[in-house]
C-alpha cells in the first residue's frame, strides 16, 4: 500500500482529490447528525477536519473472520475510501495492504516510530492468550506480542467488532485458544469498543472522525462503546415495538404474525437487551436490518452473545434448566416425603403397641 504523507492535512488531501468545501460541509453535517451532535457542530467539525492532519492508524487483525473489514469496506457513507484517504493514514492493514512479509512488518514498525504516541491502533479479532498465545500468529509473532508491542506507544485503541471488544465467537465456550478482548490485555491506554458482528460501518467511521475532529474520546457507555451509536437498545428503536406493546407476537417465522410484521420476541429476538444502532442507521446504506428482514436480533454487539442460551429461545425463558436436575430434585423431595410419612406410621404403630397404663 502506498503510504501518503502524514504531514498533509485532510483539507489538502480533499482539495487534491477535487473535493469542494461544500462537499466537506455536507460530509461533516452527515457525521454530526449520525453521532447526534448539535447542528452547530458541523461547521466547526468541517473546519477542524480540514485543518487536521490525517490520523495514523495501524490496523491489527487477530482471531477474526474478516467480516469486520468486509463490513467497513462496504460502508455506504462515509465510504472506506473516504476514511482511508481523507481521514486517516492507514499505515498497516494485513488484509487491505498490497505488500506482505517483511515489508509489511517494516511498514508497521516505521509507522510506530514516526508517530510515536500519536497513532491509533485498530484491532479486529480477539487475542489468543492460552499457551503463550501460540494459536494465532503472524510474521513469527503471536497476536499477544504484536498487540502489546504496538499498543505501547499508541494514543488510543479501537476494538472493532465483538471479537476484539468482548472476545466474540473465539471466546465462546469452551474457548480453546484462551481468547481475550483487547481491553483485558491493554490496561494503560484508552480502548474504545465498537462491537457488533460485524459492527455498523458508520459507527467505526463516525468514531474515527470524532477522534480526528475533536482530538478526544467520544462519550462512552459502561462497556466503553460510543454512546452515540450504542446508547439505545434495538428494542427501543425498533419499528416493530408497537406490536410488542400490544402483545402481538410472531410465533413462528412462517405464521400469520410473521407475515404481518409482528414482534419477534417469541422467536428469540434479543433486541430488548442489545445496544446498537441497527434499528436507526440500518445496513447497506439504510436499506434494512435483521429484524426488518424477518429475523430476531441475535444480540451480537453484547458480550458473550454466543453463550446466552440460544438464539431462538425467548428472553423470558430460562437458559439452563436441565430436566434431570428438576426431576432429580422432585424425586429427592418425594423420597424425603415418603420417608417422613413412613416414620410417622412407624411411630403410630409403636405407640399403639405400647401397653396402656
Amino acid at each position: 500500500m502506498p503510504r501518503m504523507s502524514d504531514r498533509e492535512t485532510i483539507g489538502d488531501a480533499l482539495a487534491r482529490r477535487g473535493v469542494s468545501r461544500r462537499a466537506l460541509l455536507k460530509y461533516a453535517s452527515y457525521l454530526a447528525s449520525v453521532m447526534a451532535l448539535p447542528p452547530t457542530v458541523s461547521n466547526a467539525m468541517a473546519e477542524a477536519l480540514a485543518k487536521a492532519r490525517r490520523q495514523s492508524v495501524i490496523w491489527l487483525s487477530f482471531q477474526e473472520c474478516t467480516g469486520c473489514t468486509e463490513s467497513l469496506t462496504r460502508s455506504f457513507s462515509p465510504t472506506i475510501e473516504d476514511m482511508i484517504f481523507n481521514l486517516i493514514s492507514l499505515d498497516y492493514h494485513e488484509t487491505l495492504q498490497a505488500v506482505s512479509g517483511r515489508a509489511a512488518e517494516e511498514a508497521r514498525l516505521a509507522a510506530m516510530e514516526e508517530n510515536k504516541g500519536k497513532y491509533v491502533v485498530v484491532v479486529d479479532g480477539s487475542v489468543s492468550t492460552k499457551d503463550g498465545g501460540v494459536y494465532s500468529t503472524s510474521a513469527g509473532k503471536t497476536n499477544l506480542q504484536v498487540l502489546t508491542e504496538t499498543a505501547q506507544h499508541a494514543l488510543a485503541l479501537i476494538s472493532v467488532g465483538t471479537c476484539a471488544a468482548f472476545g466474540g465467537i473465539p471466546r465462546a465456550k469452551p474457548n480453546p485458544t484462551g481468547a481475550m478482548p483487547v481491553s483485558d490485555i491493554v490496561k494503560d491506554k484508552p480502548v474504545i469498543n465498537i462491537s457488533g458482528c460485524p459492527p455498523i460501518p458508520e459507527a467505526m467511521a463516525g468514531t474515527i472522525a470524532y477522534l480526528v475532529t475533536f482530538n478526544k474520546l467520544p462519550d462512552l457507555d459502561h462497556l466503553n462503546r460510543p454512546k452515540a451509536f450504542f446508547g439505545d437498545s434495538i428494542h427501543d428503536r425498533c419499528y416493530r415495538r408497537p406490536f410488542y406493546d400490544k402483545g402481538l407476537f410472531a410465533k413462528r417465522f412462517d405464521d400469520e404474525g410473521a407475515r404481518k410484521g409482528w414482534c419477534l420476541y417469541e422467536v428469540g429476538c434479543k433486541g430488548p437487551v442489545t445496544y446498537n444502532a441497527c434499528a436507526t442507521l440500518k445496513w447497506n446504506g439504510g436499506v434494512s436490518f435483521p429484524i426488518q428482514s424477518g429475523h430476531g436480533c441475535l444480540g451480537c454487539s453484547e458480550p458473550n452473545f454466543w453463550d446466552k442460551g440460544g438464539f431462538y429461545n425467548p428472553l423470558s425463558t430460562g437458559t439452563n434448566i436441565p430436566a434431570a436436575i428438576v426431576g432429580g430434585a422432585a424425586a429427592a423431595g418425594a423420597a424425603v416425603g415418603v420417608t417422613s410419612a413412613l416414620l410417622a406410621r412407624r411411630r403410630k404403630r409403636l405407640a399403639a403397641q405400647e401397653p396402656r397404663s
Binding site: G247, P303, G318, I321, P322
Partner: protein, 219 residues
C-alpha cells in the same frame, strides 16, 4: 456472567429445583400420613365422599350467611388478587413462553395492555390486603412472619414485572433480571410457607367437606 445470565440460568435452575423438591416433600409427607379411621356411623342420607368433598370445596368459595357482611370485602379482595395473579401468570405472552419452556404447552396470550391493567389492580388489591392485616387487631395478632414474607415475595414479582414491561428507571436487562430473581425467590419460598395453599386448599376444603357431610353438618 451478567445479572440477567445469572437470573435466567443458575438462579432459575436452583429455584425450580427447590420448588420441585419442597412441593413433593410436603405433599407426599402429608398424603401418606396414617389416616385416622373415622369410627362414627355416617348419616343415612350422607352422600358419597367425593360428592361431600366437592360440596365442601364449592361451599367454601363464599362465606356462610352470618359472616357475609363482615367478610364481604376481605373475600372480594381475595378474589381480586387471586384472579389477577392467575391472569398475569397465565395471560402474558412472556409468561406463557416461560411455562412453554418448562412444560411444553402453550396457549393464546392476552393483550399486554390488559395484563398491565390487571397487574395494577392486583397490586392495589395486595396493598389493601396488607393494610387490612396491619389495621385489624385480630388479624395482626394472628399474623406471623410467614404472612408478611409471603406477601412480600408475592408483591415483588408483580412490581418488578410492571416496571420491566414499562421499561422504567433502569435498562431492560436489569429490570428483567430483577423480575426473574424475584420469581426465583417466590419459587424457593413457595413450598415452605403459606403459598403451599395453592395445592393444599383442595385437600383441606375437601377433607372438611367429607367430614361434615358424613356427619350431616349443614355448611
Amino acid at each position: 456472567m451478567t445479572l440477567l445470565d445469572f437470573a435466567r440460568g443458575p438462579a432459575l435452575e436452583v429455584a425450580i429445583a427447590v420448588f420441585a423438591f419442597g412441593v413433593m416433600w410436603r405433599l407426599l409427607s402429608l398424603l401418606l400420613l396414617p389416616w385416622a379411621h373415622d369410627r362414627s356411623r355416617p348419616r343415612p342420607d350422607a352422600p358419597p365422599a367425593m360428592i361431600g368433598a366437592a360440596r365442601g370445596f364449592i361451599r367454601h368459595l363464599w362465606p356462610p350467611k352470618p359472616f357475609v357482611r363482615s367478610f364481604l370485602f376481605a373475600t372480594l379482595n381475595g378474589y381480586v388478587f387471586h384472579v389477577g395473579l392467575a391472569v398475569i401468570v397465565f395471560g402474558l405472552a412472556q409468561h406463557i413462553l416461560f411455562l412453554h419452556g418448562l412444560f411444553g404447552v402453550a396457549w393464546p396470550n392476552l393483550p399486554s395492555g390488559v395484563v398491565a391493567v390487571v397487574s395494577v389492580v392486583t397490586l392495589a388489591s395486595l396493598i389493601v390486603a396488607l393494610t387490612r392485616r396491619l389495621t385489624s387487631p385480630v388479624l395482626r395478632l394472628i399474623s406471623t412472619f410467614d404472612d408478611y414474607f409471603t406477601w412480600l415475595v408475592t408483591v415483588l414479582p408483580v412490581v418488578s414485572g410492571l416496571v420491566a414491561v414499562s421499561h422504567l428507571w433502569a435498562p431492560y436487562e436489569t429490570l428483567l433480571a430483577v423480575h426473574i430473581l424475584s420469581v426465583a425467590l417466590l419459587l424457593i419460598w413457595f413450598p415452605f410457607g403459606k403459598l403451599m395453599h395453592a395445592f393444599l386448599v383442595f385437600l383441606t376444603r375437601s377433607e372438611t367437606g367429607i367430614l361434615y357431610s358424613r356427619r350431616g353438618v349443614e355448611i
